[in-house]
Symmetry: C2
C-alpha cells in the first residue's frame, strides 16, 4: 500500500544501514534496544501515527482550538490521541525509566517522531512542550521538585509549557519584564504577561506546569538577570495533593495561519497579586538553563518540518503516480494515451528535489540523534566534546536550513496536485501552512544564521566546524573508492574545500570592522553549509547503496538503492553548483545591505 507519512523503508535504511543503531545496544545503557526491539518500536509508532494521528489532522485544522472565559479546548479528536500517547508511554521516549521514561536511544526516538510529526505535528506540540518542561525539572529541579512534578509530566498526566516570550521581548529574551519577588516561605510572587505560549492552557491534562522566565527584583539587566521558575496551574502541596488554583490565566488564543490544533496562548501571571512559583535552578541562571534546552527544542523544530516535508512528498508521489494528465513528451500525435504525471520531466524534477531534501534532512536529523547517543555512551571526554561540537554546529542547519527546505518541499507538494493542491480536499495546503511556523519559533531562521556565523563557526577555536568538515571528508574518501560515485565524490570534495575557504573568509570578516557586512551574508553561509551537509548525507547514503547493489541486493530492494544513487547524483549535479555560486557571493562580500541608508528602502 502506498505510504503517506514517512517512507518506512527509508527510515529503516537510515537507522540500520546508515547509522547502525544496533551498535548502540552493545552498550549497557541501550542494551534493551536490539534491532528487533527498535523495529518493533518503529512499527508501533508508525501504527499510532497512521491509524490514530493522521486521521484527525484535518479535523484539528478545521475545528481548531477555542477560548471561552479563560478556558481553552483543543480539538475534540485530540483527546483520544493524547490518551494513547499516555498509554503507549510515548512522551518521554529517551528519558530515565526512574521518572517514567523509556530510556530509548535518541536516534530511535527521532525515527518514531518522523512518523508522529508527519501524521500530525500540531497535536505533537503539546507532547513536546510537556516533555521539554519536564526535562527542565529533571535537569535543574531540586529532589523535591522532581518528586512532586517529574513523573507526572513525563507520563503525560500533567502538561507543561515554556513561558518565555513577551510582547516587547520576542527574539530579544533579555528584554523581558516579568518580575519575581521572594516570599517569606521561599516561594516567589510572579507578575507579568507572556505571549505565544503553546499549550499555555488546554483541556488535555488536569494540571499544567509552567516554567517561567522572570527577573528577580534587583537582578541585573539583560539576560544575566533572568531566572527560571516553576509555576503550576494548580498549586501542588508538599504531599503531592492539589492546593488552590494559581493566579495564572490564559487571556486569549491567537488566530493563526496554521497549527490550528495547537493553542497559542496569551498568559497573565499575578493579576490578583497571587501567582506563586518556586525557583528552578539557580537565581539569574535562567538563560543558561534555556540554552541547555535549546538544542533539543531546535532539533524538534527541524523534525516538525521534516514531518511536513516527508508527508507532503509521499502524498505528491502517490498522486503523481495515479493522476493521468497529458501525453508523454516523446509521444507522437495527439491521439497518444494520457500518462501519469510522474512521467513529465518537470514533475520528476520536483519529485526528485523533494525526495533528496526529505531523505537528506532525515539523515541529518537522525545523525544528530546518534551524536547525542554517542555522548551518553562514551567515556572519553574528548570524544564527548567532539560529538557535542558536531551537534552544536549542526543545530542551526537542522533548524534553519531544514525548515527552509521543508517549506519548499511543501510548496512543491501543493504544486504537483495543481488546482487540487490549493483546496482543503487534500492535506497538501495544510502541510504548507503548518510548516511555515517552523521558520519562526525557537529562534527565527535569521537567528539560526547569526548563531552559525557568530557562535558556531568559531566554537572551540573552530574545531567543531573543522570536525564537521572532517566527517564529510570521510564520506567523500569512501565514495572516491567506489567507481560509480568517484566523480560525484570529487565534486563534493571540491565544494567542501570551497566551503572551508568561504567560512574562513566570512569568519575573518565577522571579526573585523566589516562585521555588519559579514552578518548580512550569514544567511547565505547557513545555506551553503546546509547544502554541503546534504551532499554529505546523500553521498553517504549512495555509498552504502552502491556497495549493496554491487553485492547483489534483493530484487525488491534494488529500486530503493538505485533511488539513493539517483538522489546523490541529482543533488550534487543540480544543487551543489548553485551553492558554489552562493559561496562566491559570500566571498565577494558586497557591503550594500549593510551600507544602504534606511530611507533608501522607500515606502514613505
Amino acid at each position: 500500500m502506498a505510504q503517506t507519512v514517512a517512507d518506512r523503508r527509508d527510515v529503516d535504511f537510515v537507522l540500520h544501514e546508515q547509522l547502525a543503531v544496533e551498535n548502540l545496544s552493545k552498550h549497557e545503557l541501550f542494551a534493551d534496544f536490539s534491532k528487533k526491539t527498535v523495529d518493533l518500536v518503529i512499527s508501533e509508532a508508525r501504527n499510532l501515527a497512521i491509524k490514530e494521528m493522521m486521521p484527525v489532522l484535518k479535523a484539528g485544522d478545521e475545528e481548531g482550538c477555542t477560548f471561552e472565559s479563560g478556558k481553552v479546548s483543543v480539538p475534540e479528536s485530540f483527546h483520544r490521541v493524547y490518551e494513547l500517547f499516555k498509554e503507549g508511554e510515548w512522551i518521554a521516549m529517551c528519558d530515565d525509566p526512574q521518572w517514567g521514561g523509556q530510556g530509548m536511544p535518541s536516534t530511535v526516538s527521532l525515527a518514531a517522531k518522523n512518523f508522529f510529526h508527519g501524521a500530525n505535528f500540531p497535536f505533537m506540540l503539546a507532547i513536546l512542550l510537556g516533555h521539554g518542561a519536564g526535562k527542565l525539572v529533571e535537569k535543574f529541579g531540586t529532589d523535591k521538585q522532581k518528586e512532586l512534578f517529574l513523573k507526572k509530566m513525563y507520563t503525560g498526566e500533567w502538561g507543561g509549557t515554556m513561558l518565555l516570550t513577551e510582547p516587547e521581548a520576542g527574539s530579544d529574551v533579555g528584554a523581558l519584564t516579568t518580575t519575581a519577588v521572594k516570599n517569606d516561605d521561599g516561594t516567589y510572587s510572579i507578575t507579568g504577561n507572556k505571549i505565544f505560549i503553546s499549550s499555555g492552557e488546554q483541556d488535555l491534562t488536569k494540571n499544567i506546569i509552567h516554567p517561567v522566565l522572570a527577573r528577580i527584583e534587583g537582578a541585573p539587566a539583560g539576560t544575566a538577570g533572568i531566572s527560571l521558575f516553576l509555576v503550576p496551574k494548580i498549586w501542588v502541596n508538599d504531599d503531592g495533593s492539589f492546593g488552590e488554583p494559581n493566579d495564572i490565566a490564559c487571556t486569549g488564543i491567537e488566530e493563526k495561519m496554521g497549527i490550528h490544533g495547537s493553542p497559542t496562548c496569551s498568559m497573565t501571571l499575578g493579576s490578583k497579586g497571587q501567582c506563586r512559583g518556586t525557583l528552578l535552578g539557580e537565581a539569574n541562571k535562567g538563560m543558561r538553563a534555556m540554552f541547555v534546552m535549546m538544542n533539543e527544542a531546535r532539533l524538534d523544530v527541524g523534525m516538525q518540518a521534516l514531518g511536513c516535508a516527508s508527508a507532503s512528498y509521499l502524498n505528491a508521489l502517490n498522486y503523481a503516480r495515479e493522476r493521468v494528465q497529458g501525453r508523454h513528451l516523446r509521444a507522437g500525435g495527439k491521439d497518444a494515451p494520457g500518462v501519469p504525471i510522474i512521467q513529465h520531466p518537470d514533475v520528476r524534477r520536483m519529485l526528485l528535489g523533494m525526495k533528496t531534501c526529505t531523505e537528506g534532512c532525515r539523515s541529518l536529523l537522525f545523525y544528530i540523534g546518534l551524536c547525542e547517543d554517542m555522548i551518553h555512551i562514551s567515556n572519553d571526554a574528548d570524544e564527548k566534546a567532539r560529538y557535542q561540537g558536531l551537534i552544536d554546529v549542526l543545530i542551526p542547519i537542522a533548524k534553519g536550513y531544514v525548515t527552509d527546505r521543508a517549506f519548499e518541499v511543501c510548496s512543491q507538494g501543493v504544486q504537483i496536485y495543481g488546482g487540487y493542491g490549493y483546496t482543503k480536499e487534500y492535506p497538501q495546503e495544510q502541510y504548507l501552512r503548518d510548516c511555515k511556523i517552523t521558520h519562526i519559533y525557537e529562534g527565527t531562521n535569521s537567528i539560526q544564521a547569526m548563531d552559525l556565523l557568530g557562535r558556531k563557526l568559531g566554537l572551540n577555536k573552530g574545531r567543531a566546524f573543522g570536525d564537521l568538515m572532517a566527517e564529510i571528508r570521510k564520506t567523500t574518501e569512501t565514495a572516491k573508492g567506489i567507481p560509480a560515485l568517484a566523480e560525484l565524490a570529487g565534486e563534493t570534495e571540491a565544494a567542501v574545500a570551497k566551503l572551508e575557504e568561504t567560512a574562513r573568509h566570512i569568519g575573518l570578516m565577522a571579526a573585523s570592522d566589516r562585521m555588519m557586512t559579514a552578518f548580512a551574508h550569514a544567511y547565505a553561509l547557513m545555506e551553503v553549509t546546509g547544502d554541503a551537509v546534504m551532499a554529505w548525507m546523500l553521498l553517504w547514503r549512495a555509498s552504502i547503496a552502491a556497495q549493496k547493489l554491487e553485492k547483489g541486493a534483493k530484487k525488491k530492494d534494488t529500486p530503493f538503492y538505485e533511488g539513493q544513487m539517483a538522489g546523490a547524483r541529482f543533488f550534487i549535479r543540480t544543487v551543489l553548483p548553485v551553492s558554489l555560486g552562493k559561496m562566491d557571493v559570500i566571498s565577494g562580500g558586497d557591503s550594500i545591505a549593510a551600507d544602504i541608508s534606511d530611507d533608501a528602502f522607500g515606502g514613505k
Copy 2:
C-alpha cells in the same frame, strides 16, 4: 504617512522616468493621456485601493464566500467595492470607449492594477474574469453578440467567467469532454461539468456571461476539436431583454488555502438538457481564442503576485522601522539601547531582497504593458512583430518567475514580523496564502517553464529571445558609460552572454534525443532568464538614478535614487552569481531526473 499597498514614488518612477509613458500621448490613440491625466488616474486608483479595497481584505478572507442551494454569496463588504468599480469605470480600462472602455494605455492600467491587486486581489478576480470574458466577445463575437453583451460586461453590469477546466482535464485542456450539439435555431445545447471556475456564480451582478470550451459533436479529438460558446446565466433575447434562466448551475464552491473572497465554483451545464449557448468565433477554433487571451491572463497573474509582494514588502518595511528589538550588532554591552529591527543585517538583507524583487518585477510587468501599447500605436509591421515577440518571450517570466519570487517575498514578509507574522492580526500571512494560487492557475509554473523552452526560445527562429537579449544589452551598454555602474554593467553583460550560451545549449538539447533531459532543466532556464531580466530592469533603473543624482536630484528624491543604485548592486552581486551556478547546471545537462525509474522514487 507610511504606504502599505504599493510605493507611489516607485510606481511613478517606472511610469514616467523609466518607461516615459507620456510619449504615448503623442499618438492620437492615447492623446488624452498626458502626464497630468496619468497622475490623476493613478491617484484615483490608489485612493480607491487604500480607502475602500484594503479595509475589506481581511473581512473577505474571514467571511469568505458561501454556497447555499445553488446560490453563492461573496463577502458582504465586496458589494460596495464592486459598485465603486462600476461607477469609476475601472473594469475596462484599456478598451474601446465605444463599448464602455476607457481607452487607457496598458502601461497605465497596470500601474492602477498594482494598487488594486496589492489592496485586495481576491476581490479583483471577479473584475478580471468579467473583463476577460468581455474581451473574448469583443475579439470573436458577432456584431449581435457584441451588441447584446459587450457593454454590459465592460461596465460591470454583468459578470463574466471562463469555463475551461474539467475534473479530468486540468493542464491538459485537449482532454475536455463537455459537448455541444447544434439546435435548429442555430444555438447549441451544451452538456458537461466544469471545475475551478472563479466567480462561476456570485451575487454581485444580475447576469453572468460564461464563455465555455466544449466539443461540437463529431469534432476532432484533442485541442483541434474545441470550440468556444457563450452561455449566459439568464438567457438574453435578441432585443436585449431577459429570457429564461439557463440550465447552468453552480453545484458547490471549493474550500481553499486562500483567496477566500473569490468563489471557486463547480458548474454543471445541461443537467436538464436545456443549457443553451451561441458559438463564439469559429467552430473548432476555441483553443486559438484561448491563446489570444492567454498573454493577458498570465500577465494579470503576475500582477496579482506583484500586488501581494509589494504590499507584503511595504508592511514589513514599516514594521521593521518601528519594531524595536535587540541591540545594534556593533553596540557595546547589554545596556545599549534597543534599535528598530531594520538595523539588523539579516533584516536589511531580507528587505533589500524584497525591495529589488518587487521593483524589478514591477518594471518588467509595466514594460510588457508598454510593449502592448507600442503594438497599438505602431504602423510598422516589423516593429509590431518585434514587440509581440518580446511579449511572448517575457510572458512565462511574468507569470512563472514573478509569482515564484513574489511568494518568497511574502514568506519573508511573514518572517520579518516574527511570531506576529504567523497570526491573523497582521495581513502578512494572508498575502502568503493568497499568493500561492498564482503558481497554479492560468497554467502552472511548470507549464510556463515548458512554454519558455518549448515554444518561446525558438519563436520566430529564435529572434524573439534574441531581441530580448539585445534589449538587455542596450541597457548594459548605457550603464557601462556611467562610472558608478560600469562594473555592475560588465557583470550583467557577462551573465547575459552566459545565458545566451546556456539557452543555445538547452535549445539544441530539447531538439535532440535528449529532449526529456532538456525539459527536466526547463524550470532552471526560466529561473536564469528571469534573473537576467531582473538584472536588466534593476540596472536600467539604476542608470536613470545615476544620471539624476549626477545632475543633482532634489533632496527629497535622493534617497529614492540611492535606493535604485543599491538595488541594482544588491541583485547583481548577490543573486546573479548564484544564477551563473544554475546556468552551469543547465549546461551540465545531467539526465538523472529523466533517467530515474518510477519505482526508485520509493514510497511503496
